[in-house]
Every structure is written in C-alpha cells, then in structure tokens.
Amino acid sequence: MAGFFYSLCALTAALCALLQLRAFHRSGYRLLLWGGVCFAGLALNNGLLVVDKLILGADIDLFTYRLVVALASVVVLLYGLIWDAD
C-alpha cells in the first residue's frame, strides 16, 4: 500500500522534473532549472523510500540519506525562488 502510493509520488515528481527541465532547455529561465532539480530530487527521495521499505531489509536504513536528499531538493528550489524568480 505505502509502496504503491510513494511510487506514484515518485512518478509524479519525475514528470514535474521532466516538464520543468524541458521548459528550461527551451527558455533558459533559471527558476525552471532549480524547480526541475528539486522535483528530480523529490522523485529520488520517494523512490529511495520505496526501495528502503520494500527491497532493502531491516538492517539497512536509508532514512538519514533520504532526509538529506529531500532537504537538498527543497533548498535548491528555495534558492531559485529567492534569487531567480524575477
């Protein structure tokens, strides 16, 4: 159940990343780059969550790594919103 929903979240985030980076490639508007990177990171974050819960055993826990990825993602977006939102 959890894996299913988090997988959907990861896919949605990946789609967002794709759309943002495609638009960045076309227009060069930097906020799109940061947004794209953020969503790619969130896709990774949710993907790792699925891997962590379903594939890896109880002896490996990616929790801290996942938090670092999530934090880095949102910080990148925040940086873009502050400096490049125009």
């Binding site: 959890a2 979240c9 949605t12 967002c16 969550l49 819960k53 934090l71 925040l78």
Partner: protein, 88 residues
C-alpha cells in the same frame, strides 16, 4: 541529526509554499495556489512525522497526505492543460 534534517525540511517546504502563495496573489493563476497547498500540507506532514516518537512512513496517514500533496500538483497540471482559460 534526523530531527534537525526534518525540521529544516519543514521550514524550507513551508517557505516555498509561501512563495507560491505570493505568486498566486500576483498572477491570479490558480496553479500557484495548488502548489502552495501541496507544499503546505507536505510541510505539515513532515512536521507530524518528526513529532511522532518513532518516525515511520509506512503509516497510512503519512503516505496519504504525501499522496494528496502530489494529487494537488496533478490537479494543477490537469487544470493548466484541459481547462480553457478566460483571457484577461
């Protein structure tokens, strides 16, 4: 360490939500309102996760709210693509 990371994520996510709220106010594009709500509830979700003694994302509450935050994004995208905008 984990709690600090979670706290930072909560702050960053909620701040991003505030930015989206501002963009909604300036552009009147509902898209940004959806994003503000999405990031807002995800920020609260992470805070709730941090406040449980034993953070466990398997709990239905957490994955439902996260899923809901992404549903809001999907709704925003859908509305942008399939609804005819009234041109100002």
């Amino acid at each position: 360490m984990d709690l600090m990371l979670l706290g930072a994520i909560v702050m960053a996510t909620l701040t991003a939500a505030l930015f989206f709220l501002r963009f909604w106010k300036h552009t009147r594009d509902r898209f940004f309102l959806y994003f503000a709500m999405s990031f807002g509830i995800e920020g609260v979700n992470r805070a709730a996760l941090a406040l449980t003694g034993n953070p466990n994302e398997d709990r239905p509450f957490f994955y439902f709210v996260r899923f809901l935050s992404f549903v809001l994004i999907v709704v925003a995208i859908a509305e942008k693509n399939f609804v005819k905008r009234k041109h100002p």
